[in-house]
Symmetry: C2
Subunit: 326 residues, 2 copies
């Protein structure tokens, strides 16, 4: 028999795999009945819950050569938790469905579970269910649940002309980290590579924005211009970003962009997977930290289609990526 650390998924039964993984997962503060039955039971104190799902596929969203199981677990958790936060909700639970090649080391899956726990545990979020299937391709489908705490959900469609546009989190760091890995220069800036491998989302800013009266909000997962465009379209408004917004990100990324001959603006405005939050607030609202005002909402109308401008003009930056069209 192979050493434990080298055991492959195909060498163990589903029950044995679950017995290795489940103890690594947090139960969660809202969990009334944890995993182990046909379904789990989770509290929804205000008689509603938010639900969202996202899937990561190997060699599309991550490479095993560039990310550990723990990185992938952290990223899978964060991108779903950020969607919950973007509604103004507090995450309560995750469930995870995995398609797993037989030649995957069991240790990689244990590591994935630890990554989920890294992000969920400190927040009191339970990983309350899962399913494991064989598959030729490694896929990680996460569904996240959350609690609105009695507040109305903050949708994408509530932005109004006159609102200010604010952003919490970073922009372009994940794209810069990916570019470093692609150029085999990951030692040049560990922090940016880490921002790609396991992005940090300002999750608490979601409920803060809701409490402060945010009129619309979206998780920035596919690039600032693309996601701001979605919010603008849903709200039928124009979002005009300040030309000098994201100065801190531009400054932070300048040296690496120099080395790689890359365009900082492309990373900041077009790069995906940073999982910051973009929100709009009435101009009278106190924009809560860590949100920073980055622009304003203008009316759409004849001659001004709903969409995004930068400093009043269309941006030359490619607006982010499409998971299919690439």
């Amino acid at each position: 028999m192979a050493a434990v650390s080298e055991t492959l998924v195909r060498e163990v039964s589903e029950d044995a795999l679950l017995a290795r993984i489940v103890p690594l997962l947090p139960v969660g503060r809202a969990t009334l009945l944890p995993s182990g039955d046909d379904a789990a039971v989770v509290a929804a104190p205000d008689a509603r819950f938010v639900v969202t799902t996202d899937v990561l596929v190997e060699d599309r969203h991550f490479r095993r050569a560039w990310s550990t199981g723990r990185d992938v677990g952290r990223r899978a958790a964060v991108q779903n938790l950020a969607d919950v936060a973007a509604m103004g909700a507090v995450p309560t639970a995750l469930v995870v469905a995995l398609g797993v090649p037989g030649e995957l080391p069991v240790a990689w899956l244990e590591d994935l579970a630890r990554g989920l726990a890294d992000e969920c545990g400190p927040l009191g979020v339970g990983v309350v269910g899962g399913d494991l299937s064989g598959g030729s391709e490694l896929t990680v489908a996460v569904t996240a649940l959350g609690d609105l705490e009695g507040r109305a959900p903050v949708t994408r469609s509530g932005a109004r002309p006159g609102d200010v546009v604010a952003h919490a989190g970073v922009c372009g760091h994940s794209a810069a980290g990916l570019a470093l890995l692609s150029a085999d220069l990951e030692t040049l800036d560990d922090e940016l590579v880490a921002a790609y491998r396991h992005p940090t989302s300002p999750l608490a800013a979601g409920p803060s924005a809701a409490r402060a009266g945010a009129t619309a909000m979206i998780d920035v997962s596919d690039g600032l211009l693309r996601d701001a465009g979605r919010l603008a379209t849903a709200s039928a408004v124009v979002i005009d970003l300040d030309t000098d917004a994201f100065a801190a990100d531009r400054h932070r990324l300048a040296a690496v962009a120099d080395v790689l001959g890359a365009d900082v603006a492309q990373w900041v405005l077009g790069g995906g997977e940073d999982h910051g939050l973009l929100a709009t607030f009435p101009s009278s609202a106190a924009v809560p930290p860590p949100f920073v005002v980055v622009g304003r909402v203008l009316p759409a109308g004849p001659g001004a289609a709903a969409g995004v401008l930068v400093g009043g003009a269309s941006s030359a930056v490619r607006p982010g990526w499409d998971h299919f069209a690439g």
Copy 2:
């Protein structure tokens, strides 16, 4: 440009795909905010919800040669709805994460959506969210949510010696249908082939069982012996099935088993994916239809390990399948 019916997934953007699929999906009676935002909002009237997830992988759980997209959509819905029902809950919503090869026809995905709608729509269950990713393998990960309507969840662990064991639904029909397809004899019995392609689960029997005082319940997805064994182990009891139980199923399957030279008992006791419900009730309870008494709960103890017997003895039938060990 190809005809609409022949368009492939790789020829359209994610947004265009969603625009084709989302209108086919039911909104649901518990849906407070439907899909289209970062997350949906679903009602949970008793301040709790049940949640479960299951993944189907092409060539492991279905073959495109044997099942249409609509069949796969129906099956993906039913197997998750059955897990909700097995807690005694009423399903309220699904979310679906898809990994989709670029060469898949868009029409197949639309068909999948119609299959989800076939099962969910009549029940008032919403398909409230989803995610689409490219992938080399077709995977369908569904998460189902449900409402306990104020009742305690019916777990696997509450069976007590003296309880009766009852089953609702069919046993072995899906396995027989799969055997017919494998033998290229699907015309021999359309009904059994349909039971494989899109099994029917007695979903309303789950809440009925809970109202009637069921002490334990499980969805029979991996074969009666295996799932009864899970319930027995969780409850630390022996489940003794009557030798003449499932007479209707045995009778129904006899002719096909004859033609194929198959063992009816193997299909009935070992076949998976029928999605019947197995429950235990106090002997004083009125077992609600369509449940039929199929055995009784005996104490486990020295010389009687928790597990399943048939007529007081171990069964020679293989207990069902393991998704990894095969």
